[in-house]
Symmetry: C2
Subunit: 137 residues, 2 copies
DNA sequence: CTTCATGCAAAACATTTGCAAAAAG
DNA sequence: CTTTTTGCAAATGTTTTGCATGAAG
């Protein structure tokens, strides 16, 4: 995919097959941990090792192609959607779903802008709606 | 401290010296990881081991005496304040500060109640204001 | 007494590192 | 060619487990 090669190069990274594959995998998975990426790619790219995946995901985060997500199970999760948005987080299975609602993050941002916060420099707002998936899905 | 003994017993747990010490430590630290608790108690309670602290913190979370916090550095953090509130999260040093503002969580809750969310059962709302502490502190 | 909790050492996970070999540009 | 990147194996860091001993109620 030509667009993806460009995207990676524009980030200042070499467009290796590993990076292309890992980004595609993230695109498919949406939110994932390293072992989920390995699992996803183990057939199509069996030589990939954890070290490489950590390196690649890290390089993507550093260049703004991915973001890290917060979890409560001491594992790293990554998000392919880098614009600010809220998440549903299922704490039992440590899975994420996007909450596609432009208003919510803005609502909080606007609220914060009315407050005088001097002890902290807020860069981003992270909202997680914690709970459980309902049965019908 | 008599109140704390009661609190722990009411949670259905035996009020051991370890539990008392660990809870007091959490009260002092506010937000902490296991190694922070060990560090804090290493003089006053040198026989404490990680295994015990993990067990105790886990038992506290299960009985509602503590909550887990979300982090992006694959470590567990705990919070002594169990009511719902927002946090400042310094991603560089992985530290938390309470955002004592009753309105913010309610604002989000109210907003959510106007939405028809059918695929997810939201139990709690977790808001992290991510950024950096300002220099004056 | 009975049950639950602690402490220890080992095991299990998750992530990082160092470095030689390979590939990208 | 030069600079990054990959893949490997080993090291590090974090959390969990099993079990004998000890303490709480």
């Amino acid at each position: 995919m030509l667009l993806l090669r460009e995207k990676i190069k524009e980030a200042g990274l070499k467009a290796t097959p590993q990076r292309l594959a890992i980004y595609e995998s993230m695109r498919k998975l949406g939110h994932a941990s390293v072992d989920m990426v390995i699992e996803d790619l183990k057939n199509s790219f069996p030589t990939l090792t954890v070290a490489t995946i950590y390196n690649v995901l890290e390089s993507f985060v550093n260049t703004g192609l991915l973001t890290r997500r917060f979890s409560s199970n001491n594992k790293m999760y990554f998000d392919v959607n880098v614009y600010e948005h809220a998440h549903f987080y299922d704490q039992e299975e440590n899975s994420y779903m996007d909450f596609h609602d432009q208003e919510l993050v803005r609502l909080v941002m606007d609220y914060l802008s009315t407050k005088q916060i001097e002890k902290f420099d807020v860069k981003t707002v992270d909202i997680q709606l914690v709970g459980k998936k309902t049965d019908n899905q």
